[in-house]
């Protein structure tokens, strides 16, 4: 099952490797990783893995011991809002334009670049919505695609606790 681990870390060189290393040593395959500064001196790393809950619990225990990790949580433990983004380049044919325009009209995507023979579309939403949209586009022939990897926040008023 896909599990989302969110780690609040110090914004220092090498921290991403320290975090990734805890997944690597257990031979986990990372589905996606997304990292970025969220506050001065602080970054948030979101890692999605395909694994059993108990195994991920061990990773979280190890991550919590890292000197540069401020807080870490498995968002599977509470409901969350997750977002993912894909940029997709398609051939600019009449058939494709019709499908893409329907997606834009549905609010699922927007056109971000137009070339002589291609169209680039941005898809933003819950990861499973992106999966569905991409499957639709793949039938039409995708030329190139990139995905950001998921980011997530717990629902409601709760935040990542800073004092364990």
């Amino acid at each position: 099952m896909h599990l989302t681990v969110v780690a609040l870390v110090e914004d220092k060189p090498g921290v991403l490797e320290r975090v990734a290393s805890q997944f690597r040593r257990r031979s986990f395959n990372i589905v996606s990783v997304s990292a970025g500064r969220t506050a001065p001196g602080m970054s948030c790393i979101t890692v999605v893995v395909d694994s059993e809950k108990r195994a991920v619990d061990r990773v979280i225990a190890s991550l919590s011991k890292l000197v540069n990790v401020l807080q870490v949580e498995d968002l599977g433990d509470r409901t969350s809002v997750a977002r993912d983004m894909a940029l997709v380049k398609m051939a600019s044919t009449a058939a494709n334009r019709a499908v893409i325009q329907r997606m834009v009209a549905d609010g699922r995507g927007r056109i971000v670049d137009v070339g002589d023979r291609t169209l680039s579309i941005e898809l933003t939403g819950a990861p499973e919505q992106i999966d569905t949209a991409i499957r639709e586009l793949e039938d039409l022939g995708v030329i190139e695609m990139v995905r950001s990897g998921g980011i997530a926040l717990g629902r409601g008023d709760e935040t990542l606790k800073r004092d364990g």
Partner: protein
């Protein structure tokens, strides 16, 4: 004041109370070595191999509780430290390893003796640092020293580029509190958790206390003893917990686990409560987890809360420093005699002290057990003994009765051959008045015996007892039990160790008979320089009892009384 980065390295160490450094120079650390004579309060010992430096730092730390420091150059100097860091990591030993790195402009160019060493040591250190600027050196070393000791101790590695050592900086020693927002001590257990633990302890009929390395690290020996005596609760030890409870105390049971005492393992399987103090339920301790201590509730006290429920499901986890947690528990522990439980355990002992060597027939052969037993006798049980891993290590744990903490120094978690001799050198530097012995097999001793050169040059009076059976003994034992006696690559040739010792200007002795053991040990202790004793023991002896991998803790291989001259009296379970 103005300092070069090199001066800042030593100045920082001196300010933090470091007196002893184990190291080996080389190109990328040369600026730092060049500044060393300016700090005459520091004693530097030139080792023969950087692995030796790390084990010496480790032995120093374990003997004293202070951080041990090792220094090496970049590339091969640094990679040679890997085994020592991993050893310290597995056994929660606080060491600080400082390495030189190529100049910062050369990093990533495959420069001469360049290794991405912080990349290499990342998973085998508690934390590591790459320092590229002179002004970062002092604050980094200060933080590194703190991290090595804080909470659960461990190795910390600081890699410093050559240009950072050469550059000048303003040296300002900052004594303010270190800011590490990611390192938080666990909150003390709640009153409710303490109440639950106390209720389990007071209600238990067949409780056992487990003493692990944490008992030594937290200095909780006295409170552990008080808990045992108040509750009349027997105490079993992990390998690294040996010394955490006096061996001669009537409530002492001995070591648990794969080569633990049979009655201990049987008691664990029968217990209704385990009170685990500073240990991690390693697989060598538990045997098969499926039926481990199935009748027992478990209280687990550890400073590292991530150990809870890692291997064994725990009923009451108590996070915190063992000394403090026991302080919270003790006032509520009732004085409860538990005679029935002691009688049950004694029933498994057959009423005789199985490990008492006087119960063993003396058939003229020299057995390792004899050597360890007589070493214990001849040193009054007061030596600091450092061991490698393997048969001799288990015999040491079984036959040398340690009454004091920090007197057995052994590579437990990683099981590092070659640890004993350098660790003994480190222990001697930490405790100059102590009688320090390295006990190693003929395999492990040959891995790091180059450190005899360090002992000779630096005049370190450490004695070594080589348990020489001509085999990589524990591997041979596994081949005997589990590979139908196919002794592949385990017979090993030894040099004449007495001559090796003499070649270094040290003293060497060779012992082949039981009656010569005590005189040899006495002669070694009386001699002014280091003495290496080659004890040539029975070649195909095995360590008993033994819980095979994957077996339940009570399913032990016992000594075959017919073929073996050493008979374990009583204790048939």
């Amino acid at each position: 004041m103005k300092r070069t980065g090199a001066q800042a390295v030593w100045e920082s160490l001196v300010r933090m109370g470091v007196t002893t450094v184990f190291g080996y120079p080389g190109g990328a650390i040369l600026p730092t070595y060049d500044a060393l004579p300016e700090f005459p309060s520091l004693r530097h010992l030139l080792v023969r191999h950087e692995q030796g430096a790390t084990h010496m730092a480790d032995g120093y730390a374990r003997a004293s509780g202070r951080v041990g420091v090792a220094v090496a150059t970049s590339g091969p100097g640094a990679t040679n430290m890997v085994t020592g860091m991993a050893t310290a990591m597995m056994d929660s030993s606080p060491i600080l390893c400082i390495t030189g790195q190529v100049g910062s402009s050369l990093i990533g160019t495959e420069a001469f003796q360049e290794t991405d060493i912080t990349g290499v040591t990342l998973p085998i250190t508690k934390h590591n640092y790459l320092v590229t600027r002179a002004e970062e050196i002092a604050p980094t070393l200060r933080e590194a020293m703190y991290v090595a000791q804080a909470g659960r101790p461990g190795p910390v590695h600081v890699d410093i580029t050559k240009d950072a050592q050469q550059a000048s900086c303003e040296f300002e020693w900052d004594d303010s509190e270190i800011q590490l927002p990611g390192m938080r001590p666990p909150p003390l257990p709640s009153a409710e958790a303490i109440r639950q633990a106390v209720a389990l302890i007071n209600g238990a009929k067949r409780p056992l206390i487990f003493a692990g390395h944490g008992a030594l690290l937290s200095g909780a020996i006295d409170r552990l003893r008080e808990l045992a005596e108040r509750g009349d609760i027997p105490v079993a030890m992990t390998l690294l917990g040996i010394g955490g409870f006096p061996a001669e105390h009537p409530l002492n049971l001995g070591m648990m686990g794969m080569h633990g005492e049979a009655w201990v393992n049987c008691a664990i399987q029968e217990a209704d409560l385990l009170i685990a103090c500073g240990m991690r339920f390693d697989d060598r301790v538990t045997g098969n987890l499926k039926n481990y201590a199935a009748k027992a509730r478990k209280i687990h006290i550890d400073i590292d809360p991530t150990e809870f429920n890692k291997n064994v499901r725990v009923d009451v986890p108590l996070a915190g420093d063992l000394h403090e947690v026991l302080g919270a528990l003790l006032p509520h522990v009732e004085r409860t005699p538990r005679a029935e439980w002691h009688a049950w355990i004694a029933g498994n002992k057959g009423g005789e002290a199985v490990r008492d060597i006087t119960n063993l027939p003396d058939d003229g052969h020299l057995y390792a057990a004899h050597v360890i037993h007589d070493l214990w006798k001849a040193t009054g049980g007061k030596a600091i003994v450092c061991t490698d891993v393997g048969q001799h290590q288990m015999w040491e744990a079984q036959y040398y009765k340690h009454n004091a903490p920090r007197t057995l120094i052994t590579s437990g978690g990683l099981g590092t051959m070659g640890f004993a001799l350098p660790a003994a050198i480190g222990a001697k530097l930490a405790r100059p008045d102590a009688d320090v012995w390295a006990v190693a097999g003929d395999g492990g001793f040959q891995m790091t015996m180059a450190e005899l050169g360090t002992m000779a040059q630096e005049q370190v009076k450490v004695n070594a007892a080589i348990i020489n059976n001509g085999y990589l003994g524990m591997v041979r034992q596994w081949q005997q039990f589990f590979y139908e006696k196919r002794y592949v690559a385990t017979p090993i040739l030894s040099p004449d160790y007495a001559k090796v010792a003499e070649a270094y200007g040290l003293k060497g002795l060779t012992v082949r008979q039981r009656r010569d053991v005590i005189p040899a040990v006495a002669a070694a202790r009386a001699h002014g320089k280091a003495v290496i004793i080659d004890f040539q023991v029975e070649q195909e002896d095995s360590v008993y009892p033994m819980v095979p991998t994957g077996a339940a803790l009570h399913e032990m291989i016992r000594r075959d009384e017919i073929v073996s001259p050493i008979v374990e009296t009583g204790a048939s379970v």
